[in-house]
């Protein structure tokens, strides 16, 4: 945020903060290591608010659960902002010196008095008020979020709505106060750091707007960079649809199972002229590939670094040779370059890293020697004497302020694209469980005593009303597809809301149901909300015969 995609706070600060919001984040199940830091805070006396349509395992730890309707996060955040402003708790000094766009924002949130917010979100007014006042009055406060915020057609706006709250209260750029998007893997952050995103090079540098950046990279790489951004995943699929993209090189990604509206995704992948998949498993996507390149497991068969959610770059050391003919990813890429006419040789991980340090100032001070000696370093780290930054944006508090001001964004509340109706009366929201990981590529090979397979989780009220038995197989249908799964009664759900994971795609292809309504700013689809109907399996059969 404000230029660099990373959490502003550290784990240690989360442990020592006073108020934690888990907003669209079920960290107890999906970020269990991070949740240990949260637990330390709770045992110290910190208050926890969980904002989630489901009363998840994380929400059970919370002092207040705000069980909002799916996709009403902006309305909730705006209502909180209005409470804070009306209580005279807006940090006016901070707003004046460090932000822009406050007046427009204030007018926007004025449209969300508590009664309106209660009607939109479902959350009782006094609970919204309590959450707002507790956040604003806290000495320190951190807002954490994950896919519950971003997997919406307006995910970026959702993020802005949370950033606004931190700017409004000055819970930003100070020890123990900030924003923390939780990363779902050891190195999601590292992917962004390394420029594996369409609109930034390593170190979140924009070559399209910054001539210095562009020249630096062009000189170092002896090439000319196109002055436009690449495509995000959703745009790539659109380009496939138009025939603009005809070949794909997929590294460690399983889009045939992870994309929303899976029927469409698989059709487009099958329609490619050429598909190269580089992976450590023969995924469903790999099965469709023209060429499969068996790669190494990056956590034990390769040298390099990873970056965690607190921006800490850590060394990874090779412990084993990859099995059979599997090869190191760097080796594979260099060999492909060779075949394409570029001789890069075979640089070591450290040589590549050192090149990167010369190109991305935020990593410049992170030698391998320091990373090993100091147990990792948190970016930015501009030179060998820089200790790295515990938290970001202290510049906003500096006198005079360092860098540009942080903008308020007067984002608009919008409901999900597809809402339940008479034909598809249930809202399906998807997510993950503790015992499995994403499409199951990495976790389905192992047993877990917790794993119970895929199911459609429903509120006890709905199960009773529809006359289903717990465990009965039912048909779940959306406008895009239909699957069957057993019903499971889940008290964390309210009537009208059902939940599925996408862990067991070989058994239940949940993403046949989800909607490909994509946030144009992030390219992320609205996995968190689509409309479905649920019927007994027998009735469906009878109907189709008739």
């Amino acid at each position: 945020m404000f230029g660099a995609g990373g959490g502003t706070t550290s784990y240690r600060e989360v442990e020592e903060t006073d108020v934690i919001f888990l907003w669209g984040a079920n960290a107890r199940e999906n970020h269990p290591i991070f949740f240990h830091h949260v637990l330390k805070a709770l045992h110290r006396g910190a208050k926890l608010f969980a904002v989630d349509p489901r009363r998840t395992a994380s929400a059970q730890w919370a002092d207040d659960w705000l069980g909002l309707h799916v996709g009403t996060d902006i309305a909730l955040a705006h209502a909180m902002a209005r409470v804070i402003i009306h209580a005279g708790l807006a940090n006016e000094e901070f707003i004046r010196r460090a932000t822009t766009g406050y007046e427009e924002y204030r007018q926007e949130v004025e449209q969300f008095p508590l009664d309106v917010a209660e009607r939109i979100t479902g959350v009782p007014a006094e609970v919204i008020e309590r959450a707002a006042l507790t956040y604003a009055r806290a000495g320190r406060a951190v807002i954490c979020w994950t896919l519950g915020i971003t997997e919406h057609h307006n995910g970026t706006d959702n993020v802005f709505a949370l950033i606004n709250l931190s700017l409004l209260t000055g819970h930003m750029g100070r020890y123990g106060s900030g924003l923390s998007p939780l990363r779902g893997q050891n190195n999601v952050q590292g992917g962004g750091d390394m420029g594996a995103i369409p609109n930034r090079l390593v170190g979140f540098q924009d070559w399209t707007t910054d001539a210095d950046v562009r020249q630096r990279f062009e000189r170092a790489w002896n090439t000319t960079l196109k002055p436009e951004y690449g495509k995000n995943l959703s745009e790539m699929f659109e380009a496939m649809e138009h025939g603009e993209i005809r070949a794909v090189y997929a590294i460690g990604e399983n889009p045939a199972r992870s994309e929303a509206d899976q029927g469409r995704a698989e059709r487009l992948i099958r329609g490619l002229d050429h598909l190269v998949v580089q992976d450590i498993f023969l995924t469903r996507t790999a099965e469709l590939a023209t060429v499969v390149l068996p790669a190494s497991a990056s956590w034990c068969e390769a040298e390099g670094t990873v970056t965690n959610s607190e921006r800490r770059v850590q060394r990874v050391r090779k412990a084993l040779d990859p099995p059979f003919d599997a090869r190191d990813d760097m080796w594979i890429i260099a060999e492909i370059a060779q075949r394409l006419g570029y001789d890069w040789g075979h640089p070591t991980a450290e040589e590549l890293w050192n090149e990167l340090r010369t190109l991305a100032p935020m990593f410049a001070g992170m030698s391998y020697e320091r990373l090993e000696k100091e147990g990792g370093l948190q970016w930015p780290c501009y030179d060998e004497n820089h200790p790295g930054e515990l938290f970001l944006h202290s510049r906003l508090w500096a006198e005079p302020r360092g860098g540009p001001p942080a903008p308020f964004m007067a984002v608009k509340h919008e409901m999900p694209v597809e809402m339940p109706d008479d034909e598809y009366p249930f809202q399906l929201t998807t997510g993950r469980r503790l015992d499995s990981y994403n499409t199951g590529v990495q976790s389905s090979g192992y047993t877990s005593p917790l794993r119970r397979g895929e199911s459609v989780d429903m509120s006890p009220e709905d199960v009773a009303r529809l006359g289903f038995a717990d465990g009965e197989r039912v048909r779940i249908s959306s406008r895009r597809g239909s699957v069957t799964a057993p019903v499971r009664i889940d008290h964390s759900l309210r009537p009208g809301l059902v939940f599925m994971t996408f862990h067991f795609q070989d058994d239940v292809r949940t993403n046949l149901l989800t909607i490909d309504a994509t946030d144009p700013k992030s390219g992320t689809a609205e996995f968190k909300a689509c409309a479905v109907r649920i019927d007994p399996v027998e009735a469906t059969v009878t109907a189709s015969i008739a």
Binding site: G45, A59, D63, D64, G67, V123, P124
Partner: protein
């Protein structure tokens, strides 16, 4: 706190018992009906977790209502208090008075511990097995009614549960009680042998004052010490206690003044006073006599302790087997409250102080000062590691004074006569009066108050000597955690220093006599079984050591030593040393004491080998 609730549902009685304790307003997330509001909000977090301390009261409520802790009942408690059932089950199974398997509603716990054994408890149990069978009654460790041995404890579950502790139990009386006739269990407890004596300080009101009357307590000098305290101020009170050189009467003999000072000097202002009334050391019953006979004195003393240390809340942790003491203390607390002597502003002191009575459920270890914290907080009553010491981080992690009941009421005496005057009795740290529990083969069993330094011989004489004029074989001093001494050693003065010098201890004031007809081998086996049974199992030296000790004793006393007598003795010595050195708490550290003294002082093995 991740809740994985059971499918089992509570029956109406179970739900009712818990609702009576916790209030009937069960929310949709805590066992009640879900409402529209519950679909969008739930309070929880710290507020929910802070209710954890209600777990033991809730478990007791269930036990008293239906006679056992069923899965459905446990699940309902867990929903109400948001505690994982697996965790709560661990707590329920920790306490002997709680059963997680069905028990009949009416159960008599028959004491077969050492004091009662000298009065035929083992014969009583044999007869019960023959006449009543195996159900309806259970063997119990010491019930704390040793002066009326053999003792028994009736628990009768129901809408109006009955708990009665009674003495002089016979097979016939137990059978009658089991048949539903409460009369034999309602015999009044024996009067104090010294009642009315003008020499008494600590016990002077007992048997004279009406224990249920606030006015009568006042009429007998009640709350005079508190008025003195108000005059002295908190520091002044602590100075008197320090000048008195009062040492703890629970067994450890820690200087009370130092404890109070340490708590008073903490930066943390949320502080607690705990009256340790979990009197469970076999042969100990002095605190019960005080609480039954003069409950207001405990309340007054705690209030003074709170005033002196800046604590606003006190807990009395009472063992579950003392129903009369519970009733009288509860009544006294309510009376004190309605008379302005507890509450927002204690009359005369102008400070806030209130007391809550917490009742245990059958666990010797809960008398250990840190195990009390865990028990009150709703966890298994396992002792904590020290440091941090209770004066820094005790109950709920806050600075806490834990004092034995007898220690506390000594404060009333100290303020009555003055600290310096108090210290004129006795010497060293053994100042002031001392309560002793005489039981076993003694002519007039009961609680006696004598000055520190009185010889054991004189004390025994005061109690009429050995019952029936028979020959004294041994004295158990200080309880199961104490040790045996020989008849020729009874000129020993009863002070902390003298007993320690003689390799013994005053412990909790137990003086149990054994005449020539008592089977000491049997007594020793019972002591070993007691420690094995009461070890909380948390630390290895004690958990394993108490079992190995009992096994070795059984082999030796059965005349089948493994590898010869010398090897067994060496083994016992080694086990004892490991327990003493490496156990977390006093239970393991003292579990070898009585055995050791029986071997070394009484020459028990030689006798066993000879017989």
């Amino acid at each position: 706190m991740d809740l994985h609730l059971l499918d089992a549902e509570p029956i109406a009685e179970e739900r009712d018992a818990i609702d009576q304790l916790l209030g009937s307003e069960a929310g949709g997330w805590t066992g009640g009906e879900r409402t529209a509001t519950d679909h969008h909000s739930a309070a929880g977090g710290h507020a929910a977790r802070d209710q954890r301390h209600l777990l033991l009261p809730a478990l007791r409520a269930l036990q008293l209502r239906v006679g056992w802790i069923s899965e459905g009942g446990l699940n309902y408690i867990c929903e109400r208090l948001t505690i994982p059932p697996a965790d709560a089950y661990g707590v329920a199974t920790f306490y002997a008075l709680l059963s997680t398997t069905p028990r009949p509603p009416r159960v008599v716990h028959v004491c077969d511990d050492i004091a009662c054994r000298t009065r035929g408890a083992d014969r009583l149990c044999d007869e019960l097995e023959k006449n009543v069978g195996k159900s309806g009654w259970l063997r119990s460790p010491c019930l704390g009614l040793c002066e009326q041995a053999p003792a028994a404890f009736l628990t009768e579950a129901g809408p109006e549960p009955v708990e009665l502790l009674f003495g002089g139990a016979t097979a016939a009386s137990v059978a009658r009680v089991l048949a539903g006739d409460h009369a034999p269990a309602k015999l009044p407890h024996l009067p104090l042998p010294q009642a009315g004596s003008l020499d008494l300080g600590l016990l002077r009101r007992i048997g004279i004052v009406d224990p249920s009357s606030f006015e009568d307590y006042r009429a007998h000098d009640g709350y005079k010490s508190l008025a003195k305290a108000a005059h002295l101020g908190p520091e002044g009170v602590r100075k008197e206690v320090t000048d008195a050189r009062l040492a703890g009467r629970g067994g450890a003999a820690f200087p009370t003044g130092r404890k109070w000072d340490a708590v008073a000097q903490q930066a943390e202002t949320e502080r607690y006073i705990i009256a340790n009334a979990d009197e469970s050391e076999p042969g100990t019953f002095k605190d019960r006599v005080v609480m039954e006979g003069d409950p207001f004195s405990v309340i007054e003393a705690m209030t003074i302790a709170g005033y002196a240390t800046g604590a606003e809340k006190g807990y009395i942790y009472l063992r579950g087997e003392y129903p009369l003491a519970r009733e009288r203390l509860q009544h006294a607390i309510e009376e004190a409250r309605s008379n302005g002597m507890l509450g927002e502003s204690v009359h005369g002191l102008g400070v806030k102080f209130d007391i809550e009575l917490r009742v245990g459920a059958g666990a010797y270890i809960c008398g250990e000062e840190t195990a009390i914290f865990n028990s009150i907080e709703g966890y298994r009553g396992e002792p904590r590691n020290k440091p941090p010491f209770p004066v820094e981080a005790g109950l709920f992690g806050k600075p806490t004074v834990v004092n034995n009941v007898e220690t506390l009421i000594n404060v009333l005496e100290i303020l009555r006569v003055g600290g310096a005057k108090y210290a004129e009795t006795g010497s060293g740290v053994s100042t002031g009066p001392r309560l002793f529990c005489l039981s076993g083969s003694v002519q007039r069993p009961g609680v006696y108050e004598v000055a520190h330094g009185t010889s054991l011989r004189d004390l025994i004489a005061l109690a009429g000597g050995v019952a029936g004029g028979r020959e004294l074989r041994a004295v158990l001093l200080g309880g199961a955690a104490g040790g045996f001494i020989r008849p020729e050693e009874i000129d020993m003065p009863l002070t902390f220093e003298a007993t320690r010098a003689a390799g013994s201890t005053l412990g909790s004031g137990v003086v149990m006599l054994f005449d020539d007809q008592v089977d000491l081998v049997d007594i020793l086996r019972r002591i070993a079984a007691f420690f094995r049974d009461e070890s909380c199992g948390q630390c290895v030296p004690c958990r394993v050591g108490t079992v190995r000790q009992e096994e070795a004793l059984h082999r030796i006393l059965a005349g089948k030593p493994k590898g010869g007598m010398a090897t067994e003795r060496a083994l016992l010595e080694e086990i004892g040393l490991a327990m003493k050195d490496a156990s977390i708490c006093g239970l393991g550290q003292t579990a070898y004491g009585a055995v050791e003294s029986a071997i070394k002082r009484l020459g028990l093995f030689e006798q066993a080998a000879a017989s």
